[in-house]
């Protein structure tokens, strides 16, 4: 049996992903319950003291740094190599990786290589009465919540970004040790040529999301909802049919096949509420839905449900906000 928790620190593009820090809250909690240390794995081209300090402040005890050339930093097969190596070396009880597209792409390779169970996209991880690690995850397009134990050790999970809060940093904490590792570099048949497009928006971080669905008659009408989103300091989003129609990019899509969001307030205009959409927004703090059809399924997942024309409601809301802000 392993001891302690090992987390993977994501830094595609050399920038530390905030989701990696969230993992450290949970790692700290598990270590307090079961003992051991918090270990983290970082693949980097150079040592960045500021980054090390941040990781220490957020709870890392021992940092394993795998140095690779700048040109191979985005080669996720190398990251798989590094994580597999670290797991063998540390032999932890639990391994946590953020369930970002990056994490969900390479973590399965590590699990397959080491013959370990891997639980995808977890919403929680806890220690039960028996002292066992239990992973909680959605399945069936969010219809089911499953509690899962792993019979191989370490248990390994990817964790949905945003479900754990980032720890409050304590800058008096220091790393116990920094372990530098070298990776044997062999050709993998894969070459990351570089970034092609930036993402225009990260919906999962927005505190207000103004989403529109099939009730919108034409693409240009989005300007009204963009204005509303801007007024509220949020982002506009769309449901799957509008992306399928080719009107919007997928990064604006809320739903099972798009983005899972958890804003303070989610405003849904002209969205019926197909299960695939509900899976993407049901964990929002508050939901306001506007629909002509009083029997629209989204009503059930709303705190405020307005039976009415999405355009009229949006315009009225804008007017009221302008008055309020002036």
């Amino acid at each position: 049996m392993g001891y302690g928790v090992l987390t993977y620190v994501e830094n595609v593009d050399g920038k530390l992903n905030p989701a990696s820090l969230e993992l450290l809250s949970k790692a700290g909690e598990i270590v307090r319950a079961r003992g051991g240390k918090v270990y983290s794995v970082l693949v980097a081209a150079s040592e960045n003291p500021q980054e090390f300090r941040e990781l220490a402040a957020c709870g890392v005890d021992v940092l394993l740094v795998y140095k690779v050339g700048e040109d191979r930093l985005c080669d996720y097969l190398l990251h798989a190599e590094a994580l597999a190596h670290a797991i063998r070396r540390v032999n932890p009880a639990l391994v946590l990786v953020s369930a970002t597209p990056w994490g969900r792409s390479f973590a399965p390779r590590v699990a397959a290589r080491l013959g370990l169970g891997l639980t995808a996209d977890c919403l929680d991880v806890y220690v039960d009465e028996a002292g066992d690690i239990v992973q909680v995850r959605p399945a069936f397009t969010g219809n089911l919540i499953a509690h899962i134990k792993t019979v191989t050790s370490p248990a390994m999970a990817t964790v949905r970004p945003g479900v754990f809060a980032k720890p409050t940093p304590d800058y008096s904490r220091r790393l116990e040790a920094v372990v530098l590792e070298e990776l044997p570099v062999h050709p993998s048949g894969l070459e990351v040529l570089g970034p092609s497009r930036r993402k225009s928006v990260s919906l999962s971080e927005a505190s207000v999301v103004v989403a529109v669905g099939r009730g919108m008659r034409k693409k240009e009408d989005i300007s009204l909802f963009m204005e509303l989103a801007k007024m509220l300091g949020g982002e506009y989003a769309v449901s799957k049919p509008l992306v399928d129609a080719g009107w919007f990019e997928k990064e604006r899509q809320v739903g099972f096949s798009g983005n899972i969001v958890k804003p303070k307030v989610y405003l849904a205009f002209g969205i019926t509420g197909a299960p695939q959409h509900i899976a993407g927004m049901k964990d929002s703090e508050c939901v306001v839905a506007v629909n002509m059809d009083p029997s629209a399924p989204i009503a059930k997942y709303s705190d405020i449900f307005v039976v009415g024309d999405m355009y009229e409601v949006a315009r009225r809301l804008l007017e009221r906000l302008k008055v309020f802000k002036s």
């Binding site: 920038k15 992903n17 996720y76 597209p101 990056w102 969900r104 973590a107 399965p108 699990a111 397959a112 290589r113 169970g117 639980t119 995808a120 996209d121 239990v134 399945a139 069936f140 397009t141 969010g142 219809n143 089911l144 919540i145 499953a146 134990k149 792993t150 019979v151 048949g189 894969l190 990351v192 570089g194 092609s196 993402k199 509220l232 300091g233 399928d244 080719g246 997928k250 099972f256 096949s257 303070k264 307030v265 405003l267 197909a274 299960p275 049901k282 508050c286 939901v287 306001v288 839905a289 997942y301 405020i304 449900f305 307005v306 039976v307 009415g308 009225r316 809301l317 007017e319 009221r320």
Partner: protein
């Protein structure tokens, strides 16, 4: 099978909008909805058809599922697969992603060499997205996941655009390789949509044979690594999530509704 063939992993899944759940126990009544090809995998199949037009080779649809998934494999033939194989045996039952990927990889080894393995980024029932990359690892081939589109391809390699989370990146993979594809999916700038089979395709599919392979047909398969026995993750408890709806305040007056929303925004410190 030859080095120019394309394997498409298709998962027969119940329609998640029709399948019934036991609200108390969270048990899935898998008999309550017919099995059809996981919608994400339809894009993989369509991509395979488009690549075959330029690169040649044959398309083999491969699934691991109960016997009544045969219809879904016939659908794969109607949509362009040259051959369909269903891995079906009670010994495969209860498999998690590790056991599933091992079983699929063992079947692919039996098929011989291949150019590409394609699959959808995840399935609508399991929603893990793990089987693709795990198959790639078992077979020691490179993979790209969350593939947004194929940018270019030739006889030696294929270049795709993949979602890394922080942004989109171009990745070149040497054959043989595995791609797990997202939707919408682009093919050299064009948007791919799964084709709707023509009547003649359906007729051909009806007459085609779906090969059924059992555990005994997989030479050298390690029985401790398949099915429930080979699955390290165990569901200890499940519950139905969606019944937990909210209790909305319903407005029919737009003015009242606007006031209520403003109040809510104030309460959340957003104004």
């Amino acid at each position: 099978m030859s080095g120019s063939d394309i394997v498409v992993l298709v998962k027969p899944t119940p329609d998640t909008t029709k399948v019934r759940f036991d609200v108390e126990t969270g048990r899935v009544d898998r008999g309550s909805a017919e099995l059809e090809i996981n919608p994400f995998d339809l894009y993989a199949l369509e991509l395979a058809v488009r690549l075959r037009e330029s690169l040649g080779g044959r398309i083999v649809a491969l699934a691991m599922a109960p016997p009544h998934a045969e219809k879904a494999l016939r659908d794969a033939i109607a949509r362009g697969a040259d051959r369909a194989i269903l891995l079906s045996d009670s010994k495969f039952a209860g498999a998690d992603t590790l056991a599933t990927s091992y079983t699929l990889a063992t079947a692919i080894r039996k098929l011989g060499s291949f150019r590409l393995i394609l699959c959808g980024e995840k399935s609508v029932d399991g929603d893990t997205g793990q089987v693709g990359p795990e198959v790639a690892e078992h077979l020691s081939v490179p993979h790209a996941a969350f593939v947004q589109g194929v940018v270019d391809f030739g006889d030696e390699s294929i270049t795709v655009e993949a979602d890394f989370g922080a942004g989109y990146y171009l990745v070149r993979l040497k054959y043989p390789a595995l791609l797990s594809v997202s939707r919408p999916l682009a093919f050299k700038g064009e948007r791919l949509e799964p084709r709707i089979p023509k009547l003649s395709d359906l007729m051909r599919a009806r007459k085609a044979t779906v090969e059924v392979w059992q555990a005994g047909d997989l030479k050298g398969v390690d029985h401790s690594r398949i099915g429930w026995a080979g699955s390290p993750t165990r569901v200890v408890k499940a519950s139905y999530a969606l019944e937990k709806g909210r209790n909305p305040v319903v407005f029919k007056s737009i003015d009242d509704a606007a006031e209520a929303v403003i109040e809510l925004l104030k309460r959340k410190n957003l104004l």
